[in-house]
Symmetry: C2
Subunit: 210 residues, 2 copies
DNA sequence: TAGATTGTTAATCGATTAACAATC
DNA sequence: TAGATTGTTAATCGATTAACAATC
């Protein structure tokens, strides 16, 4: 279970999908599944599934397959879903508000501690009981509270600046919605969601006729 | 310029980044750039950049490099940014509203024509002058209006159903924000944005200490 | 022309798939 | 035991990098 040798990014990017499908199986009270059956549902080859799961240690059993709930909890482990994460949102515009309002992340263990913005019209407002604070207070807030993940929802032009403040105050995870590539030290992890990039990929696919 | 032989998905996923960086260069009135210089900015190897750009035909020049504005407009071409796309949003919840309110997509040529929801409290409201309509009216609307892209922002459970209505009425592009894998015919393209998957990847990276 | 830089081929690297012995 | 299915090695495939001749 602590094999964890060299998990490639290709494998990591598939893990949430395993998590999702195994969660569904749990809901349907399925208690065992073979790589072949899972393959038919999830769309990866059976070979790839066995290969992927073996990165983490052997929790399959020859002749039997995988125990769903055991596998599920192992995937949760690998994804780090066993602990709670404290998050802050910076930027209470469209995207910031949407994320703040969405309760699904809490269920996964991501707890929103505060929201920051520069706009005086937004400061003081509340989203789901969380007050939007002045961004000037961000450094102090980070010093007083241990925050695991900063969610950057400010315009591109300010994103690196905000990121620097987060990093300087010990935040190790950045979830970046600004369409820029942030520069961070090695021990800080950035995962970017670039909505317009995604939309451009779609328009490219629509034109890529062959 | 019409080489377009076998553009792999790996290349397509890099194109929006080229688009972004070349746009910046345009703004700064840079008119030529070598693969080596671009490499330093964008973070791909010079070799990869030349390899990528060659998929589409040769618009570089030995001993000189690439003409920025020519390259930029070629990338726009490949991304399909030369035409306008008509879009509809289905689901006027957190994410649906955020996307509807965001004006950046219009600038790229994606015009929001309508928004649909089931919730009677939302129907009739306006976002940026666009009225939220009853989802029951969606099929008729799609018959009366040619829509290129459907943006699915409904809960997972309803996503495939909504997708089917879109596909049945000729929509060829689906931008899917629901955390499910949609089933569509081959001629329909789906690009998914799975926010919770992205967040899980971040939490995995934060735990993947080595 | 000489220097620079591409286009393109060849070499390497990594990820996926196939195969099968191990074993439940 | 016989059948099933994994874990794991080997083969294949694709993507990235290196190298260099072509040429501006």
């Amino acid at each position: 279970m602590d094999k964890k040798k060299n998990i490639s990014m290709a494998v990591i990017r598939r893990l949430p999908k395993y998590h999702r499908y195994l969660g569904d199986l749990m809901k349907n009270d399925v208690d065992r599944i073979s790589s072949k059956e899972l393959s038919e549902k999830i769309g990866f080859t059976a070979s790839q599934i066995r290969q992927d799961l073996n990165c983490f240690g052997d929790f399959g059993q020859q002749g039997y397959g995988y125990n769903v709930s055991e596998l599920y909890s192992q995937i949760c482990n690998i994804l780090g879903l066993v602990k709670l994460y404290k998050t802050v949102i910076i930027g209470a515009g469209n995207i910031g508000q949407a994320i703040a309002n969405y309760t699904g992340f809490e269920k996964l263990g991501f707890e929103l501690k505060s929201i920051f913005d520069v706009n005086p019209k937004l400061i003081g407002l509340r989203i789901r009981d969380i007050e939007i604070k002045d961004i000037d207070y961000l450094p102090d807030f980070l010093k007083e509270n241990t925050i695991d993940i900063g969610i950057i929802c400010v315009p591109s032009i300010n994103a690196q600046k905000v990121c620097d403040i987060l990093v300087k105050n010990g935040v190790k995870g950045i979830w970046n919605f600004a369409p820029v590539d942030l520069v961070v030290p090695d021990d800080v992890k950035v995962e970017g969601v670039h909505l317009s990039d995604s939309l451009l990929i779609l328009s490219c696919l629509l034109n890529d006729m062959e």
